[in-house]
Every structure is written in structure tokens, then in C-alpha cells.
């Protein structure tokens, strides 16, 4: 014999108005014998009538124009277009995934290309000058110094962007020109 618990789902379906004919027939057979379930159905149907009977509320008459004025004033960024409708939990997850991706890409780029232009001064001073930046051979005569220095400036034009390194080289060049 089926217990009252078995009929809970059918009671719910009947109250919601979604029970099929077969379900209703099965339920009515039980309700005819079980006053407790029959009472529950009546009370739940009464609850539903009370809730569905609540009056429909409407916003004030000036609401819609004011709301649309704010919509027109709203600037929509690409970020908002992508994430604006997400609920906070989803948003946080998306932001976290994005952050992890950025960190991974950053680490990967550093691993692939080594140090970028923003390396520290101390590292440059310790490091030997790259081959293409090595000073030309020392001139044999003093009159060649001007030409030599011009050549140095051409070769080391890039050093303007790295003052620390240029300082170290300048000391070296000065010793050559002596």
C-alpha cells in the first residue's frame, strides 16, 4: 500500500494545476480514503488562491520616462556588454579566470623572451655589453679620435635609452681616447 508521502508530488501537481488526468484519478482515489491529505490539498489550494489574488502593483507614472532617461545617459563599455548581465558569482569566476590567464601569459612571455627593457641598472652593469654594442678597435693616432667617437655614437645610439649602461661605456671610451 502506498503511503501519503508517495502522493506529495501529485498533490503539488494538482495544486499547481499541472496534473494529468491519470494523475488526478490516482490522487482522487487516495483522497477519498485519506482525510489528512484531502485537508492538505484544500489548504494548499487556498494558499494558492490567496497568493494569486494579490493585486498587481504598478510603478508610478513618472517612472518609465525617468528610467529611459537614465538608460540614454548610460555609457556602455565593451566590458559591460560582455559581463553586465552576469550574476556576481559568475562575474567573480570570469574575473578570476581572466586574472589567471593574464598571469600565465605574462609568465610564459618572460620565460620565452627573457628580460625585457625594464631590467634593473645593477644587472646591466654586471652584464658584459652585447656583441653589437662592443666599442670599435682603439684608433692608432690621436687625430682619429673624433672619427672614432662619431662611430661610437652611431654604434651606441641605442644606449641613449639606457643611461646606466651608457655611463659605464663612457668610462671605457674615455680610457680608449687617452
Amino acid at each position: 500500500m502506498k503511503t501519503c508521502n508517495h502522493y506529495k508530488l501529485l498533490i503539488g501537481a494538482r495544486v499547481d494545476g499541472t496534473a494529468t488526468e491519470a494523475e488526478l484519478a490516482e490522487l482522487h482515489g487516495h483522497l477519498a480514503e485519506c482525510t489528512r491529505c484531502a485537508g492538505e490539498v484544500r489548504e494548499l489550494e487556498r494558499v494558492r488562491r490567496l497568493v494569486t489574488g494579490l493585486p498587481r502593483l504598478r510603478p508610478s507614472s513618472g517612472f518609465m520616462p525617468a528610467a529611459m532617461a537614465r538608460v540614454r545617459a548610460q555609457r556602455v563599455s565593451w566590458f559591460d556588454r560582455l559581463f553586465g548581465g552576469m550574476q556576481p558569482a559568475e562575474f567573480r569566476l570570469a574575473a578570476m579566470v581572466a586574472l589567471v590567464l593574464v598571469v600565465c601569459i605574462g609568465v610564459g612571455m618572460v620565460a620565452l623572451h627573457g628580460h625585457g627593457p625594464g631590467v634593473s641598472t645593477s644587472a646591466v652593469v654586471v652584464k658584459a655589453p652585447p656583441p653589437h654594442m662592443a666599442p670599435p678597435a682603439r684608433p692608432a693616432v690621436a687625430s682619429a679620435n673624433d672619427e672614432y667617437l662619431r662611430e661610437c655614437r652611431l654604434v651606441h645610439g641605442a644606449l641613449d635609452q639606457d643611461r646606466a649602461f651608457w655611463g659605464a661605456e663612457a668610462v671605457q671610451l674615455a680610457s680608449y681616447s687617452r
Binding site: D16, L50, V71
Partner: protein
């Protein structure tokens, strides 16, 4: 509004056409307001929250891909906003203002001046004790149960639409609805006990 017209408006709205967005959202604003008012139990708060829903929908319209209906999508945004608002309040129950409660004024508590309800049927209905008790009982429900019962009984959504809106399995929607009604039956016992 025919579905092809909605689709055309959606395409324009996604491209940033504000007028198209306005035409899309306008038919839903009344229902959204009613939903939010029943969820948070406060008409003034409901206007602010409805405004938030409209602005958020406008910001996110580009991300709406049509997997759900536009209405379902709006209800999903509204539910998220309502639940956030209830959480911010720091309590599960919505604030319900009784017309019988005195007002706190500088000179102490004074009786509310209620408009002549004989000339305003909606306020007459709102002022009735039964309606107030039902709203209070709904406010006693947890936001999860409240959303399901308001969407089904007040907004008239189907099980499937609620499942899509709240991203729940169909069985969960049905069980939550049953649990919500059972809880409401307890809260409204004086009004439903021995119902014929």
C-alpha cells in the same frame, strides 16, 4: 510582440540602438516591477531595483544570445538583483510597512495620514489585512522559495520558464514550489485552516 519583431529589435539593441532597447523593455517593465515589489515587499525599493534591472539589461544586451527568451533573461537579472538587495539588507525578511503603523516624527509617534481609499481601489485592496498578511508571509520565505512561488503564482511563469530563469532542474522547481506552499500554509494558518 511577434518573435520576428523581437529578434529585429534585439539585433538593433545589440548594435547600440537605444530606441530599439526601449521598445523591447517597455512591455516588461510593469511585470518586472510587480515581481520585484513582491520579492522585496517594498514599492519604493522596487522602483529602484526595477531601474537597476533596466540599466543592467541595457549594459548587457550585447551578451544576450537568445538561449532563453528575452523575458526569462530579464527575470534572471531581476532575481539576481532582488536576492542581492535582500542580502544587503542583512536579513531574510523583506521590509513590510503597515499602514496602521505610526510614523516616527520629530514630535514623537504620529498616526499615518492615509489617503481616502474609497476613491482609490488599489490602495483599498493593499490596505486590507488579508493582503498584508499574505505579503508578510511571502516575505518570511527564504529568497529561494520566494522567487519560485512569486514567479509561478504571481507572475504566471511555467515550470520550464522558472527552471530557465533560476537555472534549476525541473524537479527542484516543483519541490521548491511545494515547500514554499507548505511553509505559507503554516504562516497563514488562521486564514487557511479548515478551508473548504
Amino acid at each position: 510582440m511577434p518573435s520576428n519583431q523581437v529578434e529585429a529589435l534585439l539585433q538593433r539593441a545589440r548594435a547600440g540602438d537605444g530606441e530599439a532597447f526601449e521598445q523591447l523593455i517597455e512591455p516588461h517593465v510593469g511585470r518586472l516591477y510587480n515581481y520585484l515589489a513582491r520579492m522585496v515587499g517594498d514599492p519604493a525599493d522596487a522602483e529602484d531595483l526595477t531601474q537597476d534591472v533596466i540599466l543592467r539589461a541595457h549594459r548587457a544586451i550585447g551578451s544576450f544570445r537568445g538561449g532563453a527568451t528575452f523575458q526569462t533573461w530579464l527575470y534572471r537579472i531581476a532575481t539576481n538583483i532582488a536576492v542581492d538587495a535582500l542580502r544587503r539588507r542583512g536579513r531574510r525578511n523583506a521590509r513590510v510597512t503597515s499602514l496602521d503603523d505610526p510614523l516616527q516624527a520629530e514630535q514623537g509617534l504620529v498616526a499615518r495620514e492615509v489617503r481616502d481609499t474609497q476613491r482609490d481601489p488599489q490602495r483599498l485592496a493593499e490596505a486590507s489585512e488579508l493582503i498584508e498578511q499574505v505579503q508578510n508571509a511571502i516575505a518570511e520565505l527564504s529568497p529561494k522559495l520566494r522567487a519560485v512561488v512569486v514567479l509561478f503564482d504571481i507572475q504566471g511563469l511555467t515550470y520550464d520558464e522558472i527552471a530557465q530563469t533560476l537555472r534549476l532542474p525541473l524537479g527542484t522547481v516543483k519541490s521548491r514550489l511545494f515547500n514554499a506552499r507548505t511553509r505559507l500554509r503554516e504562516l497563514l494558518e488562521p486564514y487557511v485552516a479548515g478551508a473548504a
